[in-house]
C-alpha cells in the first residue's frame, strides 16, 4: 500500500549549504498494518510524511501510496490518504460539524452520503455534544477528535498520523490510540510517527528508528530489542542514537535504506 525507496529530501541552509532532512529512506507498509516512525525532534519524520502526503516534493527516490506516485500523481494520492498531525488545523471560526462537512465536500462526497457518514463518525468519536462549538472554544482534545473525524471522513485506505498525541492528556491520548487500533482492524494502512516509546510498543507492528534523516534500524519491536540486546524500546532508542548520532552522517557511504524491511 505504501512503498518508499531511497527517498531523499534536501533543503538549503545559509550556513550549512544543502542539508538532507530525509536521506535515502526506504520502507513499505501493508494494508492492516501500523508502521511506526520513531525519532527525536528534527529527525526527519515530519518531512518524510509531508512527502508522502504530497505537500513536499522529494529531491530523489520513489514514494508510492495506494499505487500512485506522489511526484507524478499527487491528486490521486491526496484523495486516498487521511493525514493528521499534532497541529489539528481546525478553523477558529468554524464549528466541528462545518469543518468536517467542508473537508467531506472537498473530498467529493455527495451531500446525502456525507451527512450519513458524518452522523456515523460523530457518533463513533462521541462528538455530538460539541458539534456546533466553534474551533476557538474547543479544548485540545476536542480539536484532536475533530481532526480525526476530518481524517477519516472519506474512509481513505491509507492514514498518516504525525505525532497525533502531542499535547493531549492521558485520557484523550488513550482514546485516540484506541481509534487508531480500530482503524487498523478495519484494514487500513497506517503510518504512525511519534517519539513516545509506549505508544510504539502498544500500536506498531513494525517500526523504523529515524535519526538525522536516516533510518538507523527497522523491524518489529521484539526483533530490534533482541538484535541490539536491549531490554525495552527506550533503551534501544537511546543506544542507537548515542552510537550512530555521533558518527559521520553526511558523506557516510553506508546505505541506510538497505537496513529496512
Amino acid at each position: 500500500m505504501i512503498r518508499v525507496e531511497g527517498l531523499t529530501k534536501t533543503f538549503h541552509d545559509l550556513k550549512r549549504g544543502e542539508v538532507a532532512a530525509v536521506d535515502r529512506v526506504s520502507f513499505h507498509v501493508a494494508p492492516g498494518e501500523i508502521f511506526g516512525l520513531l525519532g527525536a525532534n528534527g529527525a526527519g519524520k515530519t518531512t518524510c510524511l509531508r512527502i508522502l502526503s504530497t505537500v513536499l516534493k522529494p529531491t530523489h527516490g520513489l514514494a508510492m501510496v495506494a499505487g500512485h506516485n506522489v511526484l507524478t500523481e499527487p491528486a490521486a494520492v491526496r484523495a486516498r490518504i487521511g493525514f493528521m498531525s499534532g497541529n489539528t488545523g481546525v478553523y477558529d471560526r468554524m464549528s466541528a460539524w462545518e469543518f468536517v462537512h467542508y473537508y467531506g465536500r472537498l473530498y467529493g462526497i455527495a451531500e446525502n452520503r456525507l451527512r450519513e457518514r458524518m452522523e456515523e463518525v460523530f457518533e463513533i468519536l462521541q462528538m455530538n455534544d460539541y458539534r456546533d462549538l466553534p474551533g476557538a472554544r474547543m479544548s485540545t482534545g476536542m480539536k484532536q477528535k475533530v481532526s480525526i473525524a476530518r481524517t477519516i471522513i472519506h474512509d481513505p485506505p491509507v492514514m498518516i498520523f504525525d505525532e497525533p498525541t502531542s499535547g493531549l492528556d492521558v485520557l484523550v491520548a488513550r482514546a485516540l490510540l484506541t481509534t487508531i487500533e480500530s482503524l487498523k482492524a478495519a484494514g487500513k494502512c497506517i503510518i504512525f510517527s511519534t517519539h513516545i516509546m509506549r505508544e510504539v510498543e502498544r500500536l506498531c507492528d513494525r517500526i523504523a528508528i529515524i535519526h538525522r534523516g536516516r533510518i538507523l534500524a527497522a523491524g518489529t519491536v521484539a526483533e530490534l530489542e533482541a538484535e541490539h540486546s536491549q531490554p525495552d524500546m527506550e533503551e534501544l532508542f537511546f543506544d542507537l542514537i548515542t552510537k550512530m548520532g555521533t558518527g559521520p552522517i553526511n558523506g557516510d557511504t553506508r546505505d541506510s535504506g538497505s537496513t529496512q524491511d
Binding site: H12, L14, K15, G17, R50, S53, T54, V55, L56, K57, A75, R78, A79, I81, F83, S85, N87, T88, G89, V90, Y91, D92, R93, M94, Y102, Y103, R105, L106, Y107, G108, R150
Partner: protein, 765 residues
C-alpha cells in the same frame, strides 16, 4: 481538462470561496473594516472636520500696527482699536483679527470688543517686539528680522511708514489742482510676516484682505480726483465668464475624489483578507491541512483570490457610497463654497463604468496581495510584505490626482494609472465621454493582462516549497554572502537577473546627475562631443559593468553566462543581414507609431539634433552610437539577464522578459517599442546560437544604419530620385511600402534559413 474534472474543479473553488467568505464575515475585525468603518467613519469624520474647520477659522489672530498715527483720516482704516467694519468681509466676525496698535487705546469701542482685547502688559510686549523687528529689518535685513520675529512669536506686523498720510494728502491736492504728471513714489504700508509659519500666514491673509479693500477705496478716490472712471484699473481685462454648471462643479469634485478613493480602498480591501487567508492560515497551521485535501494548489489560490477580490470590491464600493453621500451632505451644508449647495452625484452610466473598472483593479490588487502574503509566515510579517504595495499604490494615486494629468496612449497602459485616469476622465466630463471612451478597451485589456500576470505569479509561489514553507531565518550578511559564493551555479538565477536589471536602471537614473553638464557657452559640436563621450562611459559603467561583475561574482561559468563563445560565420552574417533587412520596417514602424508616442521629449530632440552636426567626428559617433551599445547592451541583456531568466529552461519566457527589459532601459518612449521588438529577435538569436556574436553583429548594423538614416539619409533622399525605394517626407527619409515588404520577406527568409542551418548542425552533431 475534461468536463467532469473541470466541473469538480469549479465545485472545489466554490467550496473554498464559500468557506473563506463565511470565515471572514465571522471575523469582527474584518467586518468592521469592510462594512462598519465606511458607514460610520466618513460621516463622523466629515462632521468632525467641519467642526475643526469652524473652530480653526474662528481662532483670533493678532496683527501689530506700527505707525498708526501715519494713517490718513480718510478713508479710515483703523478706528477704536480695530479695523473699520467696512473693510471686513460681509458677515465676518471682527474679533477674528485683533489689532494691537501703537496708538493709545480709546475708552469707547474697547467695551464692544472686549473679547478681542489683549492686556496692557502683553500689548506693550508685542509692540516692543514689533519695533525690534522693524529696527532689525532696517539695520540688518530680512534674515535677522525673521529670527527676532519668530523668537517673539509674532503673527504679523503692519508697518505704516512716516509721512504716508502727508504723501497721500499731497497727491490728492495735486490731482484736485489738475497737475499734469503726479508721481507715485511715496512709501507704502507693508505687512511683515512669515509665510512658513501657519499662524503668521493666516494672519497675513486676513490682514491683506482688509488692506486690499481699504486700498481699493483709496484708489477709487484718487481716480475720481483725476477725473478717471474706476474701470480704468482694468483697461484690458473684463471679469472672467464662468460657464460652469452646478453639475459640472460636482463632476469636477467627484472626478478628483472617486478615482483616488476607488484605488486606495480597493487595495486596502484586499490588504487584510489576503494576509489572513495566506499568512494567517500558515500561522494558525490550517494551510497544510488544506494542501493535503484533493484541491490542487491552483484551485486553492483561485478560491482565495476570488474571496479577496470580493472583499476588495465590497470595501471600495461601500467606501465610495459612504464618501459620496457624506460629501454631498457636507457640501449642501456649506452653500457659500461655490455651487449654491447643489452637488449632484455622478450619472448612473458613470457609476456603471466605475463598477466595471473596479473589477480589474481589485483583481490586480487581490492577486498581488495574495502573492506577497505567500512570502509571510505570520500576519505580522504579512503586513511588512504588503506595505510596499500600499505605498506604491498611493504614489500612483497622487500622480493621477495631479491637476493636468490626463489619459494618454502610454499612460492608459500602465497598471492602476490607466483605470484611475480613465475614471477621472469619465467623471470630469460625462458629456464628453467619447474623448476618453477610446481608451476603455486598452485600459480594460491591459488591466486584465496585469491581473492575469499577478495571479499567475501567486499560483507559481504557491507551488514553491521554499516560499510556502519558508522557515524564519535571521538575516546575517556574512553567511549570506558566503552562501551566495558557495552556491553560485553555472548560470545566474532568475532573481539575480532581475537584480541586475534593477541595478542598471538605478545606476542609469543616478548617472544622469553624475556626469558634468556642458558649459552654457559650449558650441553645438562641443556639447555633442561631450555627450558622446558620456554615452560611451555610461554604456561601459552602467550597462556592461554590473552584468560583467555579477557574472564573475555570482556564477561559476561567466563565459557561458555572458555567451562569450564563437559562432559560425553563417550566424554572424545572418545577424548582420537581418538588421539590414529590418531597418526599413523599423523606421516605418517608429514613424507610424508617432500618434501613440507623440513627439520626442525636447531634451531628447535637442540631443539628436546636436548629434546631426556634421562637424562631430564620425568615428566618435560610430563608437558611441553603434559599437558601445552593441557590446555593452548585448553583454547585459543577451548575456547575464537572458541567461538568468532562462536558467530554468523557460526560454520563450526568458526572451520575452529580457526584451521587455531591453525596451524599458531605453527610457525614451519612442525607442521602447522598437527596442523591445528587436530585443525578442536578439534574444532568439542568442539562445539559438549560444553566442553573443550574431546579436552583436545585428545590433552594430542596426545602430549604424540608424546613424546613417539620421545623418546622411535625408540629404541622400533629397539628392536621389528613387521613390520606389525611399523618399524624403517632412524632413525625414521614409521607405516605400515595397522596400518595407521586401525587407520583411527577406528577414523571414533569413530566420527560416538560420533555423534550418541550426537543425542541420544538430543532426550532424
Amino acid at each position: 481538462m475534461d468536463f467532469p474534472t473541470w466541473s469538480r474543479s469549479v465545485s472545489r473553488i466554490g467550496l473554498i470561496v464559500s468557506r473563506e467568505l463565511r470565515d471572514q464575515m465571522r471575523d469582527r475585525r474584518t467586518m468592521f473594516l469592510v462594512v462598519v468603518l465606511p458607514m460610520l467613519l466618513y460621516p463622523a469624520l466629515g462632521l468632525g472636520m467641519m467642526q475643526l474647520t469652524l473652530l480653526f477659522g474662528e481662532q483670533p489672530r493678532t496683527v501689530i500696527l506700527l505707525g498708526a498715527d501715519n494713517l490718513p483720516d480718510d478713508p479710515v482704516l483703523f478706528v477704536n482699536d480695530r479695523f473699520a467694519v467696512e473693510w471686513l468681509r460681509k458677515g465676518s466676525d471682527p474679533n477674528r483679527l485683533r489689532v494691537v496698535s501703537d496708538r493709545t487705546p480709546s475708552a469707547e469701542g474697547s467695551e464692544s470688543l472686549e473679547a478681542a482685547q489683549v492686556s496692557d502688559k502683553r500689548r506693550e510686549k508685542l509692540l516692543a517686539a514689533a519695533r525690534a523687528v522693524q529696527q532689525t529689518l532696517e539695520s540688518e535685513g530680512a534674515e535677522a528680522a525673521g529670527r527676532v520675529f519668530d523668537a517673539a512669536e509674532l503673527e504679523a506686523v503692519l508697518l505704516i511708514p512716516p509721512g504716508f498720510r502727508d504723501s497721500l494728502a499731497s497727491v490728492r491736492q495735486r490731482l484736485d489742482q489738475g497737475e499734469g504728471t503726479v508721481e507715485a513714489d511715496w512709501q507704502r504700508p507693508a505687512v511683515v510676516y512669515n509665510k512658513a509659519a501657519e499662524k503668521s500666514a493666516a494672519t497675513w491673509m486676513r490682514t491683506t484682505a482688509v488692506l486690499e479693500r481699504w486700498e481699493g477705496a483709496i484708489l477709487a478716490d484718487l481716480l475720481k480726483r483725476a477725473r478717471l472712471d474706476e474701470a480704468f484699473t482694468h483697461p484690458a481685462l473684463a471679469d472672467p465668464i464662468d460657464l460652469s454648471l452646478p453639475a459640472q462643479v460636482s463632476a469636477s469634485l467627484w472626478g478628483r475624489l472617486f478615482p483616488a478613493f476607488l484605488v486606495i480602498m480597493a487595495v486596502t480591501g484586499a490588504f487584510y483578507p489576503a494576509i489572513d487567508l495566506v499568512a494567517g492560515e500558515k500561522e494558525r497551521g490550517t494551510m497544510e491541512t488544506l494542501l493535503i485535501c484533493p484541491a490542487t494548489r491552483l484551485e486553492v489560490v483561485l478560491g482565495k483570490f476570488v474571496t479577496v477580490m470580493l472583499f476588495s470590491m465590497t470595501t471600495a464600493m461601500l467606501n465610495l457610497v459612504s464618501t459620496g453621500f457624506t460629501g454631498k451632505q457636507l457640501l449642501a451644508m456649506a452653500p457659500a463654497q461655490g455651487s449654491g449647495g447643489s452637488f449632484d452625484l455622478p450619472p448612473v452610466t458613470t457609476l456603471v463604468w466605475l463598477g466595471v473598472l473596479l473589477l480589474p483593479l481589485s483583481a490586480l490588487f487581490s492577486a498581488l496581495a495574495l502573492a506577497l502574503a505567500t512570502f509571510a509566515k505570520s500576519s505580522k510579517e504579512g503586513q511588512y510584505y504588503l506595505t510596499p504595495l500600499l505605498m506604491v499604490t498611493m504614489g500612483l494615486t497622487v500622480f493621477c490626482l495631479t491637476p493636468g494629468t490626463e489619459l494618454t496612449p502610454q499612460l492608459c497602459l500602465l497598471p492602476v494609472v490607466g483605470p484611475a485616469l480613465l475614471l477621472k476622465g469619465l467623471l470630469l466630463s460625462p458629456a464628453q465621454a467619447g474623448s476618453v471612451g477610446v481608451y476603455i478597451l486598452p485600459v480594460l485589456v491591459s488591466s486584465c493582462v496585469y491581473s492575469g500576470l499577478a495571479l499567475w505569479w501567486a499560483v507559481e509561489l504557491f507551488h514553491r516549497e521554499e516560499v510556502l514553507f519558508r522557515e524564519g531565518e535571521r538575516f546575517e550578511l556574512v553567511p549570506w554572502l558566503k552562501d551566495l559564493w558557495r552556491t553560485r551555479g553555472e548560470l545566474p538565477t532568475f532573481a539575480q537577473a532581475a537584480t541586475c536589471f534593477s541595478l542598471i536602471m538605478l545606476l542609469q537614473f543616478f548617472a544622469s546627475g553624475w556626469f558634468p553638464k556642458p558649459p552654457a557657452d559650449a558650441t553645438s559640436v562641443e556639447r555633442g562631443t561631450m555627450m558622446l563621450q558620456q554615452v560611451i562611459m555610461q554604456q561601459c559603467l552602467v550597462i556592461a559593468g554590473p552584468a560583467c561583475l555579477m557574472a564573475v561574482a555570482l556564477t561559476r561559468n561567466p563565459q557561458r553566462t555572458l555567451r562569450l563563445r564563437g559562432a559560425t560565420l553563417g550566424w554572424i552574417a545572418g545577424g548582420a543581414a537581418l538588421a539590414l533587412c529590418l531597418h526599413p520596417p523599423t523606421v516605418e514602424l517608429q514613424e507610424r507609431m508617432k500618434w501613440f508616442f507623440g513627439e520626442l521629449p525636447p531634451a531628447a530632440k535637442g540631443m539628436f539634433e546636436s548629434l546631426g552636426d556634421p562637424e562631430i567626428p564620425i568615428g566618435l559617433l560610430f563608437v558611441a552610437i553603434a559599437i558601445a551599445p552593441a557590446i555593452c547592451e548585448e553583454l547585459a541583456f543577451r548575456g547575464f539577464i537572458l541567461s538568468g531568466f532562462g536558467s530554468r529552461g523557460r526560454f520563450i519566457l526568458a526572451i520575452l522578459f529580457s526584451s521587455l527589459m531591453f525596451g524599458a532601459v531605453h527610457m525614451i518612449p519612442q525607442q521602447v517599442l522598437n527596442a523591445g521588438l528587436l530585443g525578442t529577435l536578439l534574444g532568439w538569436m542568442a539562445v539559438r546560437s549560444g553566442s553573443l556574436l550574431p546579436g552583436f553583429a545585428f545590433h552594430l548594423v542596426n545602430n549604424a544604419l540608424g546613424l546613417w538614416h539620421g545623418r546622411v539619409g535625408t540629404p541622400w533622399g533629397e539628392a536621389h530620385s528613387a521613390t520606389w525605394f525611399a523618399d524624403t517626407v517632412g524632413g525625414s527619409l521614409r521607405y516605400s511600402g515595397l522596400t518595407v515588404a521586401v525587407g520583411l520577406a527577406m528577414a523571414v527568409g533569413i530566420v527560416v534559413s538560420l533555423r534550418r542551418r541550426l537543425a542541420g548542425c544538430l543532426r550532424q552533431g
